[in-house]
């Protein structure tokens, strides 16, 4: 009981000091959080989605709050990969935590181009392929809604990538396990789920959508029960690690995801609300393990019992 429990997780291709990662798009490039926390206390973080070129994103309003949820339609405004490697990456190089880059593209070629460019730079632990952003294409469609597009895209990037590939999946599908399997077969080293749920809200006085983009992606506690189910389904059929997310606000939420089969988790929207939440979750997890006499956090993974 006096031993401090082991929080580290081995994903096979990457060892994390703890299973708590910050989710892409909710953590800027990490530096936004240094006034509040020590980034080295995290298992890692995923920087905001990057296209090859800078991108201007969607017009505002870009956010609307719903019951226990947030709909965003940022539209992946970003600085592009060159600017990132020149101005941001050097500032991250001394961190003792895993830095992952979320890669976006309008086409398979663009994903490859971004990965290729990043291959030539140090200080990145892995690529997270964002094939699931609902805010870019007409009607919220994305490659991760289709098993073939998923397979083809992941395979192409995997073949040229100098780094492990995590594929980020969308929950806006009939059967998440089919898409996850495609990603695994195409060589993905892990899958991350879920990205946001396509959603909308309407201002009844102006009769206009509350988002300029009409649709956006729903995140936050509202979606947790659906995300958890998808992680549970996916972990049951894959051999590669599943990284779970969706509405995590506490260590208890993290434990739920681990029990459902996630090897690690990402925390998104909660960072906006409580910018020091990540180290707090790590600390609360440690306490949970001590209290329940669990020696290593990996003992929780997939530990759900039958009802």
């Amino acid at each position: 009981m006096t031993d401090t429990p082991d929080l580290s997780v081995e994903l096979g291709f990457l060892r994390l000091k703890n299973p708590i990662l910050a989710a892409s798009g909710t953590f800027g490039c990490g530096l936004e959080f240094t006034p509040f926390i020590d980034l080295n206390e995290l298992g890692g973080f995923v920087v905001k989605g990057l296209y090859f070129e800078p991108r201007s994103g969607n017009p505002p309003p870009r956010l609307v709050e719903t019951a226990a949820g947030l709909i965003n339609a940022i539209g992946l405004q970003g600085i592009g990969v060159k600017h990132f490697t020149e101005t941001i990456l050097p500032q991250l190089k001394d961190l003792q935590t895993a830095v992952l880059v979320n890669i976006c593209g309008e086409s398979e070629e663009e994903y490859v181009r971004v990965a290729d460019y990043l291959n030539g730079h140090e200080g990145i632990a892995a690529y997270e392929l964002n094939i699931s952003c609902p805010n870019v294409r007409e009607g919220g469609r994305c490659p991760a809604q289709n098993a073939e597009s998923t397979y083809s895209l992941v395979r192409r990037v995997k073949q040229m990538s100098a780094r492990p590939i995590l594929t980020k999946l969308t929950p806006n599908v009939t059967d998440i396990t089919l898409i996850a399997r495609s990603a695994e077969e195409a060589g993905s080293d892990a899958v991350c789920l879920v990205n946001t749920f396509l959603a909308m809200a309407i201002d009844i006085h102006t009769r206009r959508p509350k988002l300029a983009n009409i649709y956006g992606g729903l995140s936050g506690p509202a979606i947790k029960p659906i995300a958890l189910r998808m992680v549970h389904q996916t972990a049951a059929v894959l051999s590669i690690p599943v990284i779970g997310m969706g509405g995590i606000m506490s260590a208890a939420d993290v434990v739920e995801f681990l029990l459902a089969g996630a090897s690690a988790v990402q925390v998104g929207t909660a960072n906006f609300i409580q910018p020091d939440i990540l180290p707090q979750i790590v600390e609360d997890l440690r306490r949970f393990l001590v209290k329940n006499n669990i020696k290593q956090i990996t003992d929780l993974v997939g530990g759900i019992k039958s009802p």
Partner: protein, 263 residues
């Protein structure tokens, strides 16, 4: 910027649906400058989910004040807080008004619409200290929207009021009130905070009249410290018009850099 999760509410006043809370947070108070804001968590559970932004209305040694109007669920919860309650805040955020560039002898004025008056009291006090007496134009729909008039006067800050319904002061829009004073007392520099249509109109006036002016913009904010990219407004930066995070690069911008009609 600092996270102060247990700042105590040490004072509370109210006028209809307007409220003033005094919050003890020495470290945030120490750093604050006029035009900056704080983000407050209005509930501990998941509803309302996001923090809400409020301008710093006043600052004492150990405390800051916010002044707000009930707009929805979050502000209603905040209004229900009592003296002695704890309050989870982040601040000071944003850049505040630029005051260093004011040259000696320059005259300054401010226009505040409704709850937009909030940052102008802190501003007036600081300008007073710097030797720039501020004249305030204060507008509302009706007399109940102008509870702070006396507070400004008591501080020696002259206030001209307007109401849309004529129940108090000038009968009409605060922009028209401002225009009516323009020939006699034209300011060299103007500070503006209020609803978008008012700010747009004043922006046009300032450009036409070549009055340099700073505007405190509003937007729905996801985080308040630059992480979510939710709060953008189109702003000219080095000539290029770009979606710019107002929580980080603003909320205060100069007239000539603001592009209205987001497109």
């Amino acid at each position: 910027m600092l996270l102060d999760t247990k700042a105590e509410i040490v004072g509370r006043e109210s006028w209809g649906d307007y409220f003033l809370l005094t919050i003890r947070s020495p470290s945030i108070a120490e750093k604050a400058v006029p035009g900056q804001f704080i983000m407050i968590r209005t509930a501990s559970g998941p509803y309302p989910l996001l923090r809400r932004p409020f301008s710093i209305h006043d600052r004492k040694k150990d405390t800051i004040d916010i002044y707000f109007q009930i707009a929805g669920e979050g502000t209603a919860l905040l209004a229900a807080k009592k003296q002695g309650d704890e309050c989870d805040i982040i601040g000071p955020l944003g850049n505040g008004f630029l005051l260093d560039t004011l040259a000696e002898g320059r005259t300054v004025a401010a226009v505040g619409g409704g709850r937009g008056i909030a940052p102008l009291f802190f501003l007036g006090n600081e300008l007073q200290k710097l030797g720039f007496p501020l004249t305030v134009y204060y507008g509302g729909l009706t007399s109940g929207d102008l509870p702070l008039e006396k507070k400004f006067r008591d501080k020696g800050i002259p206030v001209h009021c307007s109401t849309d319904d004529g129940s108090t002061g000038f009968h009409g829009l605060v922009t028209d009130l401002f225009l009516s004073f323009l020939p006699s007392s034209r300011p060299d520099h103007l500070f503006v905070c209020g609803p978008d249509p008012m700010m747009k109109a004043l922006s046009r006036i300032c450009l036409e009249e070549r009055i340099s002016a700073q505007f405190s913009l509003e937007s729905i904010m996801g985080c308040g410290f630059g992480a979510c990219w939710g709060c953008v407004h189109k702003i000219k930066t080095q000539g290029e018009a770009e979606w710019t995070k107002i929580c980080q690069e603003g909320p205060v911008f100069f007239t000539e850099d603001i592009i209205w009609n987001n497109d």
